[in-house]
Point group: C2
Chain length 339, copies 2
DNA sequence: ATGAAAGCGCTAACAT
DNA sequence: ATGTTAGCGCTTTCAT
């Protein structure tokens, strides 16, 4: 069943059928009605490949992201997939998704697939995909020659690449600043592996100390293992090892949960003797008791902004190469209040 | 830059270039090397539309799912997206994703888009999409005329539709049975809205009572509002209203968290005076103290099985129309142990 | 308002 | 091992 079959049944030319399908004005109401009737009756569905060949676009974007089922993946970034996709659909674009787990080898292959599909743009979600070594980012730079690249919480300074960042440095500055201003002296910085985003958080933490003329030692920066039990044990070992801290700044709520469990296990009172600040404002932050104070990255705004800027970019509008969206520190029960 | 440009530069026919691209054997090493060199040098990328037109497949599946960023969406089903996509890629299929939120009006439109794209199959993730009224499922049945439909935790008895179900009834039977066998007398059944999957859980709960000759009254079935604060309040009101219960079976971990908060707020000892069983074995189940006992739906196995059966179906193999994968009850700290 | 004809970039059947 | 030719199903000039 193709456009010729329909045109024959309707007694019109394929061109006219095409006009009806694409909602062109130059079709009489009568003809339109007849063609639509045939289409409905036969259950005909236009072939998107052929449409794509003609239009040279299939109105499709590619999304490259970390597998949401991977335990190490940041939950707010999984939500990003939904946000981006929803916004794209509002503009009549579909999305092909590539979840690649933490296996970087697939990155280039995925990007190549997207280019074969002539996607109108590529979204890369998460700073994880942007590597330190210039050369490992080459496939991204190459792809930018052919299609605009939208980086969600990642940054790369290059033509046709647009970055949309959570203000991780600013949020960390504010969050750690709050800890210091409410009496905390020694902040333990817990992270889950140093991506670009984590580095910015560490910068913010350092800045919070520096601007208060306080010392922040690298001895207080630790990578915490995955898993609640492992993480809790790890923190306990730090304490047993002699590290003194009265606050934990975790770059991920799941790590904050570990800190909380460590405190409860050791009968350390929260927030009197230990303050905990999480990150991502995930479901986890509200299911503990006490509930976790946490940084909300405002991922939804980041995604909405990215899509709307992409649309204007596709209309040949000018778009800034780097946009930073403010995050927000949500105070709950694991931090003290200023007086 | 197309296949003709390449063929010209390489001094061979387009067919030969096509052979090189598709890895055909019938090409001399010399020619292959030359063509590959030109391809690399020019940065040529084959056009997938045109390939699709020729092959009449673009090796793409469609995934229809609930927006993972929607708070009501089940977290294990969001993971399903990653699992399905990963398995498909292993078989060299890509996936177009359609996250539609709880706005059912879009369902038909998404399915239609997938058909235009001539997807090789459609995955529908979640019983939410399968409605009670036959007529509302019509677009799914129609789509099944054109492409196989894979239902993840949903069931529809129809040609070319294959169902892959978590054993929600069985798991609930076992989970509630455990509550009853460890001394609980009155089980409060909390759900978040009655989808097909929730109904099966309720069936299991009823069966657990019936098989033990115990009475289970509908007064103990309640829909709990979204949100930790609201849910906790809701349960408290039930208790204040005079409902007596010594166990909660929640169809979602987030609801179990509410039950836990209710208990802690009212100084009810867990599990001595109240047992709580959650569902989905989500991150939430391990970040509370005490940690939640919960049902693991084994979504990964469900997805892996669905994809592998789809692949064999596409090879014209016979595939059962309905496959049920066992779930597992994970005992943690909110339930008692049998002695 | 409608139609005829020429592509879009690739693959496949059939030569050679 | 390589080339020729004819589509795949649609859109888009350009006529009428």
């Amino acid at each position: 069943m193709n456009i010729y079959d329909i045109s024959q049944k309707a007694g019109v030319s394929p061109t006219t059928v095409s006009r009806v399908i694409n909602g062109s004005d130059n079709v009489s109401e009568k003809t339109r009605a007849k063609v639509n009737a045939i289409i409905a009756e036969t259950g005909y569905t236009p072939n998107a490949f052929a449409q794509g060949l003609g239009h040279d676009t299939m109105r499709t974007m590619g999304i490259l992201c970390v597998d949401p089922s991977d335990s190490r993946s940041c939950p707010s970034l999984s939500n990003a997939i939904g946000y981006i996709q929803r916004e794209l659909r509002a503009h009549d674009y579909d999305a092909v998704i590539y979840c690649v787990g933490y296996n970087m080898a697939e990155k280039a292959r995925c990007i190549d697939d997207m280019l074969r599909r002539r996607v109108d743009s590529i979204f890369i979600v998460g700073s994880f995909f942007i590597e330190d070594k210039e050369k490992n980012n080459q496939c991204i730079l190459d792809a930018a020659e052919k299609t605009p690249i939208m980086l969600i919480n990642g940054y790369l300074n290059h033509k046709n690449i647009y970055s949309f960042l959570c203000d991780d440095a600013g949020a960390s500055l504010q969050a750690v600043g709050h800890l210091l201003d409410t009496g905390c002296k020694k902040v333990l910085f817990l992270h889950g592996g140093m991506s670009g985003s984590e580095k910015r958080k560490l910068d913010g933490c350092r800045e919070a100390h520096a601007s208060r003329k306080l010392v922040f030692s690298d001895d207080y920066v630790h990578e915490c293992p995955q898993g609640v039990a492992e993480g809790t044990k790890f923190i306990e070992n730090l304490a047993v090892g002699g590290l003194k801290f009265d606050a934990v700044f975790a770059t991920e709520d799941s790590l904050a949960v570990c800190a909380l469990k460590y405190a409860q296990k050791n009968k350390i009172h929260i927030p009197k003797d230990l303050c905990i600040m999480g990150y991502n404002n995930s479901v986890q932050s509200i299911c503990t008791s006490p509930e976790l104070s946490s940084v909300d990255q405002n991922i939804e705004s980041v995604c909405v902004t990215a899509v709307s800027m992409l649309i204007s970019r596709l209309k040949k509008g000018g778009v800034p190469t780097r946009t930073i969206i403010a995050s927000e520190v949500i105070m709950r029960e694991t931090t003290r209040t200023k007086h």
